[in-house]
């Protein structure tokens, strides 16, 4: 047993997954990950000049054949978005951790938030289908970092591990050795082994072709199917059904921890795989309830997506400004009781 922080558990998870390269740039509240990994002698570690370098160095290391990771928060994530799109197009497996804080802009640097949900899904340009996991406990930070590496190798894409400043800085007593996992190894050749030409231009077997619309359509179908098939193997969520209620709370990250205090009166659905969204599972849970409530630390980013898959009206409890008080959440839940059921 040891007392560690979410960010440290993420670092431990990366090491357990066989990560051999870390590049990152300091940013609150993600910096503890690089502080921890800087001491790890079994990996190549670099504190890069900026987040753009961090993501591109990780891409280079991954192409050279090692498991690579970078971690940041919202502003750094924005700088990494072009690189993330590159890694999707060029099929580069890696893990990008985003420990969220309040934005936009410099926002509230030390205050936790969940404002990058949309950014994770749609932040890079063009169409792509990212896989994203969101742990809500310290031991989950460990487990899902490992699974993020597995999903990255499975899908040959950059997998996002989303976290919030609360979970990242949360200290819990954990027994990491109890976590069971298997590791997925690299299925792709590495540089020097005849990998050929890697480009993020639309290409066929490394030969760019940027004029043929049918080739793009073919590519996008293939990418969509590849990401869907890979994600199917990582359907992580927790569904605590309360038979005595018709009210369902959907919450993730720190909000799921807060919501777990109300399971005596509510059912709780906690998605861990945020993207691709667990449409079937959410729709099924929504069908079993009349009132769907999403608690999140933003103005309703995931709520809108849930509404489209739940096919029901979704009420949002927005917890804003970087603090989350169970009493305030309870107040909001009580107020919703006055609303008509759908």
């Amino acid at each position: 047993m040891k007392l560690i922080q979410g960010n440290e558990a993420i670092s431990e998870g990366a090491l357990a997954a066989g990560m051999k390269f870390y590049s990152g740039y300091p940013i609150t509240p993600a910096s503890e990950i690089m502080h921890y990994l800087a001491k790890a002698k079994q990996i190549q570690f670099i504190n890069s000049e900026d987040e753009i370098a961090a993501i591109n160095m990780a891409i280079g290391a991954s192409l050279a054949g090692v498991k690579a990771m970078t971690a940041t928060s919202g502003p750094g994530m924005s700088l990494m978005q072009e690189g993330i799109g590159y890694a999707h197009m060029a099929e580069v497996p890696l893990v990008v951790v985003n420990v969220q804080r309040v934005g936009p802009g410099t926002g509230m640097p030390t205050m936790p938030a969940q404002g990058d949900v949309m950014q994770v899904k749609y932040g890079s340009h063009g169409d792509y289908f990212p896989i994203c996991f969101y742990p809500s406990t310290v031991s989950e930070c460990y487990k899902y970092t490992i699974e993020a590496f597995n999903a990255a190798e499975e899908s040959l894409s950059p997998v996002i591990l989303l976290c919030d400043g609360y979970v990242g800085h949360l200290y819990e007593t954990v027994k990491l050795s109890e976590t069971k996992f298997e590791l997925k190894t690299r299925a792709k050749k590495k540089l020097g082994e005849g990998l050929g030409h890697t480009t993020s231009l639309l290409n066929k077997n490394g030969v760019p072709n940027t004029k043929d619309p049918s080739l793009y359509e073919e590519y996008l179908e293939r990418a969509k199917k590849k990401m869907h098939d890979a994600a199917e193997k990582y359907k992580f969520y927790e569904y605590t059904k309360n038979e005595n209620t018709r009210d369902l709370i959907i919450a993730y990250g720190i909000c799921a921890r807060v919501a777990s205090a109300f399971t005596d009166k509510y059912s709780l659905f906690k998605p861990v795989r945020m993207f691709p969204i667990l449409s079937e599972e959410i729709e099924k849970a929504a069908k079993e309830h009349d009132r769907i409530i999403v608690i999140e630390m933003n103005a309703g980013q995931y709520s809108r997506m849930i509404q489209s898959v739940a096919k029901k009206t979704v009420h949002t409890i927005s917890v804003l400004g970087g603090t989350i008080k169970p009493s305030k959440v309870k107040q909001a839940l009580d107020a919703l009781k006055q609303q008509p059921r759908s």
């Binding site: 160095m57 192409l63 050279a64 030409h197």
Partner: protein
């Protein structure tokens, strides 16, 4: 004597790919000298990786017959540093243009040079953003008309040698596609250098810069490179000199 019939260098070139380079462009001449330098150094294809960014020169990686990476705009050096840290046995050749390496990628150049990462950067400095139609670059000469400086470029060129020289240890070479044997030799020395090596290949772009400056053809532009004098290895190079400036550190 130079063996003009030597075709061995073609081993490093993928001849099946269609080139995007315009008639009169010198990137092909530079690429040939890089391949020749590799031939003479007997570099095995499994031991080397070419990395390019975006731009006309950025397409070079795609024409190599060994493993290569075409990165995002400006990120060739960052990707190369990741490759080198992950596998120090690989020789990494960055081949890209001035806009890519010195403009948008300037921060990575600054820091890779400071860290003295053991990679070879070959910069085709044609003093323009050619692929995008001829916009001003940090290497465009003062007063030159480009599509984004229609009244003449108000700013001076960046001094890359000066930037590199600010480090304790550095390797900087300058050559041109008019001095082919010289170009090949400095590339060989740059590849053999233990540490960060930068080769600046002073060239030009007839299609998207030269014609706006009143040049009639590529040959006339090539003549402008005659001004350079070969000086060998020194501590510093004057503007009109080509050679090597280095410090062991």
């Amino acid at each position: 004597m130079v063996d003009m019939t030597c075709r061995e260098f073609l081993e490093y070139v993928d001849l099946d790919r269609e080139r995007i380079w315009c008639p009169g462009c010198t990137i092909g001449l530079m690429f040939k000298q890089i391949a020749k330098a590799m031939t003479e150094l007997r570099i095995e294809k499994k031991d080397v990786v070419a990395v390019s960014g975006i731009g006309c020169t950025g397409r070079t990686a795609g024409y190599c017959s060994f493993d290569s990476v075409h990165t995002l705009h400006g990120r060739a050096i960052a990707v190369s540093e990741g490759i080198k840290l992950a596998n120090s046995n690989l020789k990494v050749l960055v081949i890209s243009g001035d806009g890519d390496l010195i403009g948008i990628g300037g921060n990575h150049l600054l820091h890779a040079a400071r860290r003295n990462t053991n990679i070879t950067v070959i910069c085709n400095n044609n003093e323009i953003y050619g692929l995008t139609g001829g916009q001003v670059s940090p290497e465009t000469q003062t007063g030159v008309e480009t599509i984004t400086t229609p009244y003449g470029n108000p700013y001076p060129q960046i001094n890359v040698l000066g930037v590199l020289k600010s480090n304790k240890k550095f390797f900087y070479a300058r050559s041109t596609p008019m001095h082919l044997e010289h170009l090949k030799n400095v590339v060989k020395k740059a590849i053999a250098w233990d540490g960060f090596a930068f080769v600046e290949v002073k060239s030009y772009c007839i299609e998207n810069s030269g014609r706006r400056q009143g040049f009639k053809n590529s040959y006339d532009m090539l003549q402008t490179l005659k001004k350079y004098k070969i000086v060998g290895e020194k501590d510093d190079l004057n503007e009109d000199e080509i050679g090597i400036a280095k410090r062991e550190g």
